[in-house]
Structure formats: C-alpha cells, structure tokens
C-alpha cells in the first residue's frame, strides 16, 4: 500500500536530518582530537595573545578596512561616473583602470605599489610600507566598487533622470540629488560583499612590509604561530574575523529590510 503523501514527506525530512548528523558525526570521529586540541585549541597559548591580538591585530584590520573602503568608494564614484560619461577619453581611462586592477591579483598590486613604483618612478608612497600597502588596497577596492556603483546608477529607471531634468535640474544635480541616493540603496548588498572581501584582503598588506605595531590579524596570528610553534593563534584570529563580519552582514540585512519598508 502506498504511503500517504504527508507520511512520505515526513519520512524524507527525518531521513535528511539523520544523514546530516551522521556526516557530522563521521567527521568529528575521524579527527584525531589528541593531536588537534593541544595544537589548535591550546588555551595557554590563546591567553598569551590577549590583549595585543585585539589592540594591534584586530584594530589594524578594522582600520585598514575603513581606510581602504573610504578611499575605494571615493575613487569608485569618480570611476563609475567616468565610465558612464559621454566623453570617450573618460570612459577609456576608467575602463582601463578597472580592468587592470580587477584583473591582477591583489597581492601583486600591493607588491607593485610597494616595490616596483619606487624603482620605476623613483618615488615612494608616503607612509612607508603601510602607506604603500593601503594604497595598493585602495586601487584594488576602487576597481570593484566602481563596477558596483555603476551597476547601481544604471539600475535607477530612466524616468527618474527625465523627471529631474524636466524640473530644470542640471545633469550634475540630477546625479547627486536623485540618481546616486537611489543607486546607493540598490547596491547595499553588493557593497557589503565588497566590504567583507576588503576586510579579508587587508591580510595582504603585509607583503609591502610590516612593523610590530602595523600587523593586522592574519599577520599577527601567523607570527604568533611561528613564535609559539603552535597553531592556536590562527584559530583565535579566525574567530575574531567572524566576530566582525557576521554582525556586519546581519546589520546590512536589517538595513536592507528597513529600506525596503520605506519604499
């Protein structure tokens, strides 16, 4: 006799949960906990990291992210407007810039700014290795953010421009008061994405060189890893990244919901 539809659905559900927990259990059992715990979850090593991992590592990660994001957004707006310009030269320069810094690995861009620019141009970025690392990060961020902003501007219906221009607003005023405010709402989700990616990319700044005071989370943890011959700092750093990124994405989701209500 065929099972009732509801019974069948229930059976599928139960099976799914059973399989899921079986896989989790299998993974947990196959871990060699005797070796893993002292190597990765050593509380003594973990305790020694504080407070410096917060005061230096986390602080620099957040600081670098904010600086690179601010620079990236400012440059990104200019690049996006250039790419949408009716002037061919602007479009051409913006497209070249975006393709270059989006196409290169971030590590290579930061390395180039720090070590190739001084050789080729005989000019060093102010702020030493940290300044060079941040500039490299800003270049990378600007390319990605420019594309996000451009897509946001283009997602605003054409009727909005027509209505604003019909009221006598100039192209500049229309962009600033009507199009950009709407575009920025549209791009909140992809912009959060860029912010989280950027936060993680701050771990590449070290390639330009670093000082004890300028280490961000990953570099701080890797150095602590070497110093202690123990991988616990990497786990602590990983948790600290999540402590920042998860509230950030939650906050954005809330912001998105609130703005959706307003429209």
């Amino acid at each position: 006799m065929a099972l009732k539809r509801r019974t069948r659905t229930l059976l599928y559900r139960v099976t799914m949960y059973v399989v899921f927990f079986a896989v989790v259990a299998a993974v947990a059992l196959s871990i060699n906990w005797q070796r893993a715990i002292p190597q990765f979850f050593n509380l003594e090593v973990a305790a020694k990291l504080f407070p410096d991992i917060i005061l230096i590592g986390l602080r620099n990660t957040i600081l670098f992210t904010l600086i690179a994001f601010t620079g990236g957004v400012l440059l990104g707006i200019i690049l996006a407007l250039m790419k949408l310009s009716s002037i061919g030269l602007f479009r051409w320069v913006a497209t070249g810039w975006i393709e270059l810094f989006r196409g290169l690995p971030a590590l290579l861009t930061i390395f180039s700014v720090a070590f190739i620019v001084p050789i080729v141009f005989g000019w060093k970025v102010p702020g030493g290795p940290v300044g060079a690392g941040l500039l490299g990060l800003i270049l990378v961020a600007s390319a990605y953010i420019a594309e996000v902003i451009r897509s946001g501007i283009q997602a605003v219906p054409k009727g909005q421009t027509e209505a604003a221009r019909s009221l006598g607003m100039s192209p500049m005023k229309t962009m600033f008061w009507i199009i950009l405010p709407q575009g920025f709402r549209i791009i909140i989700p992809p912009m959060t994405n860029e912010l989280v990616l950027l936060l993680k990319d701050t771990s590449l700044v070290f390639i330009a060189g670093s000082f004890i005071w300028s280490k961000e989370l990953t570099t701080f943890a890797r150095d602590a890893n070497s110093a202690n011959a123990n991988a616990t700092p990497l786990i602590v750093a990983a948790l600290l990244y999540l402590v920042v990124t998860i509230p950030l994405t939650r906050f954005t989701a809330w912001l998105e919901r609130r703005m959706a209500k307003e429209r």
Binding site: G159, E162, K173, Q182, R185
Partner: protein, 251 residues
Amino acid sequence: MSTDLIDVHAPAIQVQGLVKAYGDNVVLKGIDLTVLSGEVVCIIGPSGSGKSTMLRSVNLLETPTDGRILVEGIDITDPETDIDRVRQRIGMVFQSFNLFPHLSVLDNLTVAQRRVKKRSKDEAERVAREMLGRVGLAEKADAFPSHLSGGQQQRVAIARALCMNPDMMLFDEPTSALDPELVGEVLQVMRTLADEGMTMLVVTHEMGFAREVGSRLIFMDGGYILEQGDPREVLSNPQHARTQDFLARVL
C-alpha cells in the same frame, strides 16, 4: 544671454518642421504646430504615431533630428540655449508618474525648488504645501510615493511640476497607467488647471476630456499631423479617412 529675453507676445510653443529619426526609423516627418498662451491642445492618434515623441521634443527630452522648436520665442534647439532654464518654465507630467521614491511627497516637491530655483527651505515648503492643496493632497505631505495610489501619485507629480511656477504644462498620457476608477481624480485636477488659464499640451486617449476641456484637438498618424481643429468638430465630423478610422475604433 538669449534665454533672458522672453518675448511675452511670442506663442507659448512653436514647432517648425520637426523631424525625428532613430537611425532609419523616421518617427516624426515634419511637424508644424503653434500653441498660443492659454490654449489647451490635446493630441490623439494610434500608438506609434509619434505623438509622445513630439511632446517630449518640446522640452528636449528628445533631440530633434531637424527643425526648430521655440518656447516663448526661445529656440531650444539652439545649442547655445540654456535648456535647464527653459525647462523651469515647462511642467512635464509622465505616464509613469516618475516620482522620486527615496523622497517624501514634500521633498519631491521641494528638491528642484531648492536646488534649481534656490528657494529657502521654508519658502519651498510653503509653495509645496500650497500646490499639494491645489491637487487635494495637503494631508499627504509626509507620505512616501509608494504608499499612494496611482491617482494620488499622478496628482503629486502635477503638484511637483506646478511648484516651479511653469508657464505651460506638458502631459504625456497622464492617465494611461491608472486603474479606471482613478482616472477621474487626475482629469479633474487637469480640468481645474485648464480653467485657471494654464497653457497645456496633452497627449491622451481620454476623448471626453479632449472634447470638454480642449480648445483644439490634433490627430497624428505616421509621424504627421493629419487633422486639427475644434475638438467637438474633429470628434463628431472627422475629415481625414485615417481620423475616421481611428475614432471608429476608439469611440
């Protein structure tokens, strides 16, 4: 500057030999039209006849391929003309309302007053509330456009245009996107405007409005003005075969 010299005796709108082509597709094939101050000119015609393109050319949302357009004597097709200044004198109402969704109704009405006319916040809000009252929506000042019905949105759009104190108003199928029961409230606002002497150019499918409010009716088809005259005359006794054919289908 040429835009400062308004010839008060010039017709509100003069369209001379207007041609508009998109590549090989010629939408307007030589339009001549003069609208005098205080006239309410309604334009009817089948879709694709070029009526919306013609209307949109009058405030240069469409750039003419050939011909001249003069607004109060100012040649807006002259590249030297400051079109932003001329547009302040021409109110435009769209089929899809095009209110600014990120701004409250009040801000929709004040943004251009403040950024273009450089009015103070207080002055702009005073004008905005006055115009909202004229369209019967004084109590909606703090609402957002998405919370309004289509008819209310279109009335706000009309009020927004009026805030710039235009000398004339262009309406591009203002009731075509509305549910039937909401058409009346918008037409009523337009009728009041007409009664107050506003110069109006209206692309519409509302034959009743054209008949009762219009001072002149224009029939367009295939990029030409085929027939024009007193609305009652054109509607009841069309001369051109295409007009007869069109009216037989819509009436």
